[in-house]
Amino acid sequence: MADLTTNFAGIRAPNPFWLASAPPTDKAYNVVRAFEAGWGGVVWKTLGEDPPVVNVSSRYGAVSYNGVRIAGFNNIELITDRPLDLNLREIRQVKRDWPDRAVIVSLMVPCTEDAWKSILAPVEDTGCDGIELNFGCPHGMSERNMGAAVGQVPEYVEMVTAWCKQHSRMKVIVKLTPNITNILAPARAALAGGADAVSLINTVQSITGVDLDQMAPEPVVDGQGTHGGYCGPAVKPIALRMVGDIAREADLRRLPISGIGGISSWRDAAEFIALGAGSVQVCTAAMHHGFRIVDDMIDGLSNWMDSKGYRTLDDFRGRAVPNYVHWSDLNLNFKTLARIDQDLCIKCGLCHIACEDTSHQAIAALRVDGARRYEVIDAECVGCNLCAHVCPVDDCITMQPQPATLPKLVWPQHPNNPMRIPEAAE
């Protein structure tokens, strides 16, 4: 039985599954239910200064895909709308009742040293395991020069992080916004400011859809809408890439990463961990299905680790990082070809029409004694994988790496590259 215990930047938890700062962690009632269900930790819904913010009614938008609900999710909510003192009292009680779970408090106050300083002491007093600086909220708060307005300026990130380290002894996790061109800049700023870890991603600026009757962006508030923060399964690829970008940088390698964005299953979590994450945070999947999803997350991850012979999370953490390279490091002499298993083929023709219309005309549509048959034309196949992706049948079209006939060749050395670096031997 695999050991899922986690030590993330010194913060301990029985498993790596934390609830991200959001409505599921807005108050003790929810958090206690989450701990009862088995979650390893929570990042409390972001606290701010009193008086609390005011939220609108009609708050969430979602993207359904072919009738499947919540492929993507967005919200125009702000930070907690409950009084600071009430939150602090609940946090203290919860941590006291659940000492083995990670309890992190998310914070967002105006960008002045005084504001940060004055909130840190009462938070530290709760006995929480650390704080997460919400530099990511892409709407509502950034207009008040908080959230993403800070996260998008590396100098501010460093400055605020430094204040927090200076005015408290708490672990500081800096939550990064993805609404930025290069994630490395704020990550380096956090490190420079003394951050113990980073967490990412916060939500992506988005409009989930336009209500074509009301002619307004969704969610519609009294006939109008605004951009919100996108999350859920649709953002996982964006999050993975940003986590990987940080994990593979030599100077950032020691910075713990809490992976967030579209994590719905143990497999998603395993992918984040393989790309370097030390813990993972979940919001949308819990909002969609309730806290009970953690059962399979724990169970599934543990079973998978057993099947792979991984005893602890550190056994596979970051294992995919060395293989996440720049395009220019990829072998241009590698060749893979599509193979159709004729016994599994159901004759839908999707591989043919996709290749014929949009790719390399490498799949022939034949009729053999009247029966449909689809065949790969090896000479035309570039190994793009499109057919394998469109084929609805598992393992019917597989990509088969061809035996290497030439040594590895990368773009910097390729003859077609005008800026080619001559090989050392020459």
Partner: protein, 448 residues
């Protein structure tokens, strides 16, 4: 045997009867339809299209359902099959489109094409009761005999092309077997009439009821008065068993029994036997037996002279009958109908087996079934008399039905035919395709 035959009406409470003859397969909800539509792979060169006798662009219309374009979906269906609404309900999809669906090969669970087709057509009929736009009038007048699926499909296509169509129909109502033959729970809520009204909304079609070819009119009359004639008369005759006792009370043709059932609004008024024996192996036998059960018959047995594999009723239909509590006995041929006081009381059967040539022959063994009612479902036949003059047929026939070529032309110039009265499978969808092909041929001929 008891003393008197037990045939009675109102065997079940009215609410039970109403439920028994309501929609057997209720429609998909809007969400179910979107989810089901997403199961369609949108195949290239889709096998389902090839398997549909009317060649509906099935992946095309399903994709439109998925995107919420129900209007486009329904119109795509109607372009190929104006009876898309009834075909969605009555087609044996399990041997047509859904058999060919690649998901059948993949996981034995086809996309529910029929149910999706119904979703699209129902939506259009509710939101846009008159969606058809005719081409400018051509001034050509065409005669159609029979207001069944074949005749009306032909009439509709001709009207769309701008021709004026007169339909001569022997019965007082349109729809053919959609109105008089198909099982009640397949076309619930008067769907046959609602669909005919929808089809006729195109304009340019007049139906002349109570006009029977061979009685009120003749083929030469029609030939002389119209630019072209389409015959869609269906099968007017039924086969007899040819055994003793066929005239006993309680012995009926299954199609007549069903027609009466279809035309009786209050099912509590319909008499049905306590024990019913149905003889035959096709869908008519299934429908008669199942509906007898649903009327409240206690014990219903279908007896077929060969095995389950030889039944022309599909496996799904056989399952349906059995789920409804109908017993199916194979390998037995009726020998005599037994009666008392002029009423049927039982049937004796001879067990059969296959001989070397593959024919079912009696084996000599005999058994008897008690019956208060016997329904004969051993096949319908084409009656050629309306096409005869001075004792000889005006048209060539083939296997006892009107002979036609690929364009549905008969041997008489200007006369076309389709549906059950020509050779081929006897299905609503096939009748529609015949009518459509004939209309296109007629259009080419009269405008060419």
């Amino acid at each position: 045997m008891t003393d008197t035959a037990d045939i009675a009406a109102g065997r079940l409470p009215p609410a039970q009867l109403a439920a028994n003859f309501a929609d057997a397969h209720p429609p998909l909800s809007p969400h179910e339809a979107v989810v089901e539509a997403s199961r369609c792979y949108f195949c290239h060169d889709a096998p389902c299209i090839e398997a549909c006798p009317t060649g509906i662009d099935i992946p095309g219309f399903i994709r439109k359902i998925g995107t919420g374009n129900l209007r486009g979906a329904a119109r795509r269906i109607l372009e190929a099959n104006v009876f898309g609404g009834s075909c969605a309900r009555v087609c044996p999809t399990e041997i047509l489109c859904e058999a060919a669906c690649v998901r059948t090969a993949e996981e034995d669970r086809p996309v529910r094409i029929g149910a999706l087709q119904r979703r699209a057509i129902d939506w259009l009929m509710e939101h846009e009761p008159t969606p058809f736009a005719r081409a400018p009038a051509t001034g050509k007048r065409i005669a159609v005999v029979g207001a069944g699926p074949a005749g009306l499909a032909c009439a509709h296509r001709l009207a769309m092309h701008g021709h004026e169509v007169t339909v001569f129909e022997a019965r007082p109502k349109p729809g053919g077997l959609n109105e008089y033959g198909i099982a009640a729970y397949k076309l619930a809520d008067d769907f046959a009439q609602r669909e005919v009204a929808f089809i006729l909304s195109v304009g340019g079609i007049t139906i002349d009821y109570g006009k029977r070819l061979g009685v009120e009119l003749t083929l030469p009359d029609l030939r002389a008065g119209f630019a072209a004639v389409f015959l869609g008369m269906g099968l007017a005759g039924v086969r007899a068993l040819g055994i003793a006792g066929e005239t006993l009370g309680g012995v009926r043709d299954a199609v007549d029994f069903i027609a009466e059932l279809r035309q009786t609004g209050d099912k509590a008024r319909l008499p049905v036997g306590r024990r019913v024996v149905v003889i035959g192996g096709g869908n008519t036998a299934i429908d008669a037996a199942t509906q007898a059960r649903r009327l409240g018959a206690e014990d219903v047995t279908i007896v077929y002279r060969r095995g389950p594999g030889e039944m022309s009723a599909t496996v799904d239909e056989q399952d349906w009958a059995q789920t409804n509590g109908v017993r199916i006995r194979h390998w037995a041929a009726p020998q005599a109908l037994l009666g008392a006081a002029g009423q049927v009381r039982g049937v004796t059967f001879l067990r059969t087996r296959l001989d070397q040539t593959g024919r079912a022959v009696p084996s000599g063994e005999r058994f008897a079934l008690e019956a208060d009612m016997v329904l004969k479902a051993v096949g319908q036949v084409f009656m050629a008399d309306p096409l005869a003059a001075d004792g000889s047929l005006l048209l060539a026939t083939e296997d006892g039905r009107i002979a036609v070529d690929a364009e549905r032309r008969t041997s008489m110039p200007g006369v076309y035919a389709g549906g059950d009265c020509v050779a081929g499978v006897d299905l609503t969808v096939a009748a529609v395709q015949d009518g459509k092909l004939a209309a296109e041929a007629i259009h080419r001929a009269v405008t060419g």
